[in-house]
């Protein structure tokens, strides 16, 4: 299947490339978060860019009148924001230019490169965070898996926001999970005294709560287990799986809301 591409018009071109006004934006499958912006008139010129939303920071782009009029954005949802990426010899050193984002109106397919204050926004933001291998200890294992007491938490960009909890002792076993707060902002449950003490949890902010995710053939029907959350103390990196009443908390919470 040919890659989908959309044709974009940048009336002012890009900074330093004011003559390049038309581009094809390719989004290779499995290549998330990277995309390619290829100049229609000069196909040998191609820019690597990425969805800024993949960089997990609170990024806000302020548009001046000229840019806003050019884009004619009616709704927030019509905007796509990309950052140009520099790929050095070692791809792990990839950096994104957050001071000069490309703001695109997906409805009109018009884009503009916005110039932000480079003293506030990094020109070379490292795309891959520090290689912090997060290993979590689960002294009680998981329910049904009492022998798995140690896990690596992986968050590959291509699967964001889904994470993987891989058993250190049995690497072929990996659980898909997600930050419970990301799927249900009002998800709360009582934590037994013994569990809180077991995890040395003093305040709710010290806890990361993950829910196991099951993805059926139709990904729109994916569900999260809210009756068996994993509660992790982010400071000590130890966790346990809590069993809640399935009559009060769904075992298969369908968190993709239609519409």
């Amino acid at each position: 299947m040919a890659q989908d591409s959309i044709l974009l018009t940048f009336p002012q071109g890009l900074l330093g490339f004011s003559d390049l006004t038309t581009f094809h934006l390719f989004e290779p499958k499995g290549g998330y978060p990277l995309k390619f912006l290829q100049a229609a008139d000069k196909p040998e010129i191609s820019f690597v860019c990425m969805d800024v939303a993949a960089i997990k920071i609170d990024y806000e782009v302020t548009l001046g009148d000229a840019d806003a009029n050019l884009l004619g954005l009616e709704r927030q949802e019509d905007a796509m924001v990309l950052a140009l990426v520099v790929v050095p010899e070692n791809p792990r050193g990839m950096t994104a230019n957050l001071a000069g984002p490309l703001v695109i109106n997906v409805k009109t397919q018009v884009g503009v490169q916005v110039v932000l204050d480079a003293s506030k926004f990094p020109l070379q933001y490292p795309v891959f965070g520090p290689q912090d291998e997060v290993v979590l200890a689960f002294p009680r294992g998981l329910i049904g898996f009492p022998d798995l007491k140690s896990f690596r938490l992986f968050e590959p960009a291509g699967s964001y926001p889904i994470k993987f909890l891989q058993a250190v002792e049995q690497e072929e076993i990996s659980f898909t999970c997600i930050d419970a707060g990301a799927i249900k902002s009002d998800y709360t449950f009582p934590l037994e005294e013994e569990d809180a003490a077991f995890l040395a949890l003093e305040k709710p902010q010290d806890a990361l709560v993950l829910a196991m995710v099951v993805i059926p053939e139709d990904p729109r029907r994916m569900t999260a287990n809210l009756a068996g959350p994993l509660v992790i103390n982010v400071h000590t990196r130890s966790g346990c799986q809590v069993a809640l009443n399935p009559e009060e908390y769904p075992l298969k919470y369908p968190f993709i809301q239609e519409g």
Binding site: E60, G64, P219, A227, A243, L251
Partner: protein, 86 residues
């Protein structure tokens, strides 16, 4: 399976440090009290099985379907904020 008969307030000791006590017997069931070290977990069987089953289901994911699911989720997540400079 080891079957032992206990009266109310009698108990069994498992593995030297887990105690199960019969605290009450009513027409609705038998109430058990369990004293065990912190690392030992105790769950009602049906709850245990439901969650173990859900865990098993979450461990059998194909990489490709995870990426499709992730793309779907990202499309619905809040996007970068655009504000006007007035």
């Amino acid at each position: 399976m080891l079957v032992i008969t206990r009266k109310v307030n009698q108990s069994v000791i498992i593995d030297g440090n887990i105690e199960v006590v019969v605290t009450e017997v009513t027409k609705d069931g038998v109430r058990l009290g369990i004293i065990a070290p912190r690392e030992v977990t105790v769950h009602r069987r049906e709850l245990f099985e439901a969650i173990a089953e859900a865990n098993r289901a979450a461990s059998g994911q194909q990489q490709a379907s995870v990426e499709d699911a992730a793309a779907l989720l990202r499309a619905r997540m809040p996007k970068v904020r655009i504000t006007r400079d007035r």
